[in-house]
Symmetry: C2
Subunit: 305 residues, 2 copies
């Protein structure tokens, strides 16, 4: 799994589930008659907004850190969001040093979250190239082991454990819907569902590189980071692309208005705080009525706003 080209399998998700057991929350699954009515399906919600660090990202982070804890003395990553905080916490609990490279335009609350878990924060410029260069400098200087945010077998496998729990709890799902950005959650969910239950992904129209990449069968660069679903602004990962292409995963687009509307509706009717990325599958179902059907499990990925 240390091989950055290794494509994980369902076995890796099962191993991740065992590895992170007791270290992450088994989050509850909620139903909502109001939201089901609005979406035109029988919807249940896996509440990863209640997860540690407020996001499913702790699953992959914990799996990755525990996978290397015996060989590494420090870990490093880059992130402007939940992945950084998740790696920071996982490293702290594994008693590893941790450096997180963040762009200068990272929101202060996200930076504070990373620092609260004891990681060293290193600022970089806002372009992807500057991020990569700064990260490489950090690794060269510290000998830290790099843990990528999504394009990584350990991250994908860890992310897949959310769908695994959802499927254990609801054995009659017709579909699973997730948001797609880098594609770690979508790919991990595909591995968990293993063809038995189709996994569909919602993507903001403004960040439609995953849809276009899968439809053109060619990994395309990300679009300018404009969607309010800031967790989904990244480009689709290589491994994730391969897994999703292999599975024939469908991606449904949604508007920014619908994303905001469903953040509000989930607050009003379910009394849950979710981040915009979490509302993307709901918005995508609402705007693609022909795709969603039957009993639908939706992963609410996080609640950090």
């Amino acid at each position: 799994m240390g091989d950055l080209d290794y494509i994980p399998t369902r076995e890796d998700v099962l191993a991740a589930a065992e590895r992170i057991h007791g270290r992450v929350h088994r989050t509850p699954v909620f139903s909502s008659r109001s939201l089901s009515r609005m979406l035109g399906v029988d919807a249940v919600f896996k509440c990863e907004n209640f997860q540690r660090v407020g996001s499913f990202k702790i699953r992959g982070a914990t799996n990755a850190v525990l996978s290397i804890v015996d060989e590494a003395s420090a870990v490093a990553t880059h992130s402007s969001g939940n992945h950084g905080a998740a790696i920071a916490l996982a490293a702290k609990e594994a008693e590893l040093a941790c450096v997180v490279v963040i762009p200068q335009n990272t929101r202060p609350a996200k930076r504070e979250a990373i620092e609260r878990y004891g990681a060293t924060v290193v600022e970089c410029g806002n372009t992807f190239d500057e991020r990569q260069r700064t990260l490489q400098n950090v690794i060269d200087a510290t000998g830290a082991t790099y843990i990528p945010p999504f394009d990584d077998a350990r991250i994908i496998s860890g992310a897949g454990t959310a769908a695994l729990e959802l499927l254990e709890e609801c054995d009659d799902l017709d579909q699973i819907w997730v948001p797609i950005g880098g594609g770690g959650l979508a790919a991990g969910s595909v591995l968990s569902a293993e063809g038995a239950v189709p996994v569909l992904a919602g993507e903001p129209e403004l960040a439609r590189d995953a849809k276009d990449s899968l439809e053109r069968n060619e990994l395309l660069p990300p679009l300018p980071p404009r969607t309010i679903a800031d967790g989904l602004r990244t480009s689709l990962g290589r491994l994730n692309f391969k897994i999703l292409r292999e599975a024939g995963t469908q991606v449904a687009l949604c508007s920014e208005d619908a994303i905001s509307e469903f953040v509000e509706r989930v607050a009003k009717h379910m009394k849950l705080v979710i981040e915009p990325s979490s509302a993307v599958p709901l918005a995508a179902i609402a705007e693609n009525r022909d795709l969603a059907r039957g009993k639908v499990g939706i992963i609410l990925t996080g609640g950090n706003v």
Copy 2:
């Protein structure tokens, strides 16, 4: 229990629990390390914000409606908030007609909630006298049976079922904290806990009639309705006063700033939407550190904002 002077007992709460079983949610109990740290106690939260109608009020409303369903053809009440919506839903499910008298300054969202459940809404002036007069006219004209919002044995007993469930789930609580307005929840909780676990109430400083009434041993009129905790602006009920006085219930005050702060903190750290009234016990604990101790069960009363 039709007698408006009847003081309910723990037996009535147990009967209410049986009566409303399956018609209201058994809401989950959450813990939060972050909030526990902020409050300086080991806190668990009974999430009545997830309750039907978004408030514990459906418990008393369902109990009251089911208590009279065989004799009444219609019910009437007055409310500018959750009680009106709760009675409307309970009446609809019992196939009784329902009239809710609301002040002209009721927020449109609250009015819509009442109408959504099929009740007839009758507007009145904003003073308590105008409310009473309009309600009497409605009752005279329709023959509807009046269900008071809190000063009523059936409402108190129904409200008490929340604490009953909390105590079933957590058998090691040192205290239960609730907000106090009319006092239905506080009185019902006292009956449920029956001296085994002390019930303490949080009250906004701006609406401190319950604290003053209990300390002076004299039922005082309400203060001007200025607190943001709009569910707690009413005066303490007569029966509720008697039950709380008998139990020696302590009331702890809190500032408006602390109420707002804990609404935010619960959103940020627990990812829950709660209404300001729900944050009042948390604010009161934070501002009265000497009163709270050990393992504390807090009832988050509602999430309608």
